[in-house]
């Protein structure tokens, strides 16, 4: 790490301190050629504010635990280069929107995890370890549809970006419905009908307004909104039939 030479090569970083009640506190952090938002937060915690609470694990965009609100938008802080977001040397970092705040940059993810259950998320297999594995063709339409949404890592960025969640906390939100979409298309899932019904129950897929904020902000370019419109279309077609091929 090379120290910056002049005084103005500092970033002015406002960081949320406190829980649901709290305030933004300003820190001056040396600006470096290469730093991510997570690096900046870590530097504040190491050298200026040892009791600053924040979450991260992998630092390389795999675990999804470092999601925060940076200059108003939800992001993975470990994959966000400062240059991409800094505004006139200023940076504001807050916890994710739409979730209760625990301390500083850490929010309570429980309501988010609960939405997954509400939308019928747990996979329920019909085979035991003694049965042969299901023979699923990777290129079958149903498998392709399920695959499109499978890589989600539960980071809650889309949940935080969704305005319908902001207006109505009972709405299950994009990530849970994206999960439901992968399940209703998964022929190995024994409770497809149940998941389908849950996804369509009150505060399910029909509450989505197709703003597309979820898709706009998903850090791995998943398309929860497309999954939700896929679910909506099932109103006409019903649960997709298993591939015969």
């Amino acid at each position: 790490m090379t120290e910056p030479k002049t005084k103005d090569s500092h970033l002015s970083v406002n960081v949320w301190r406190g829980g649901n009640e709290g305030e933004l506190v300003n820190y001056q952090v040396p600006a470096r050629e290469n730093q991510t938002v997570l690096d900046v937060i870590t530097e504040i915690q190491r050298f200026q504010q040892p009791d600053l609470a924040y979450r991260f694990a992998c630092r390389v965009g795999v675990c999804g635990s470092c999601a925060m609100t940076v200059n108003g938008l939800p992001r993975w802080t470990c994959r966000t280069h400062i240059k991409k977001v800094v505004d006139n040397g200023q940076l504001t970092v807050e916890p994710l929107r739409n979730l209760p705040r625990i301390k500083d940059l850490v929010c309570d993810l429980e309501p988010f995890i609960d939405t997954w259950k509400k939308a019928g998320a747990p996979f329920s297999g019909s085979r035991t370890r003694y049965d042969p594995p299901a023979n699923i063709k990777p290129d079958s339409p149903l498998r392709q549809a399920a695959d499109a949404g499978l890589q989600c890592i539960n980071c809650a960025v889309c949940y935080s970006a969704c305005d319908v969640v902001h207006w109505n906390r009972d709405y299950v939100g994009p990530a849970a419905l994206n999960r439901a979409w992968t399940l209703v298309n998964d022929v190995r899932h024994a409770k497809r009908q149940e998941t389908f019904e849950k996804a369509f129950s009150e505060n399910g897929c029909q509450s989505c307004h197709s703003h597309g904020n979820c898709t706009r902000h998903c850090p791995i370019q998943l398309n929860p909104s497309e999954s939700i419109t896929g679910l909506k279309k099932m109103v006409f077609k019903g649960l997709p039939k298993e591939d015969k091929k």
């Binding site: 200059n71 108003g72 938008l73 929107r97 970006a161 305005d163 307004h209 197709s210 703003h211 597309g212 904020n213 898709t215 706009r216 398309n223 909104s225 497309e226 419109t229 909506k232 279309k233």
Partner: protein, 115 residues
Amino acid sequence: MHPLRSHKSYLASIGHRVSGVALAVFLPFHFLLLSTAINGADAMDEYLTLAEMLPVKIAEWGLVTLLAAHLFFGIRVLLLEFTHWPRRINRYAAWIVPCTIATILIATLFIIRVY
């Protein structure tokens, strides 16, 4: 405006919603006015003089513009949700410009034909 809301597709969907609410508020007045016209020839004449007044004309123009906006942006939502889009296309940005142009066109046409 909140950075989560300052993009075209968000504004398009809010425009659709607000025009819908505004229509729900103003349409009953429009129908009330229209219904007075069926109470005989005098009432009809009265209505026609009323319809010639500038504020009423402006209000009617507003109504037509709202209707056009709600119709076109409603069609956009249907296209967005019920047609298949290749992944490489940003389907949220699609149709906003044509819908805006169509709305402006209807609004202008109304002005030209009525005044």
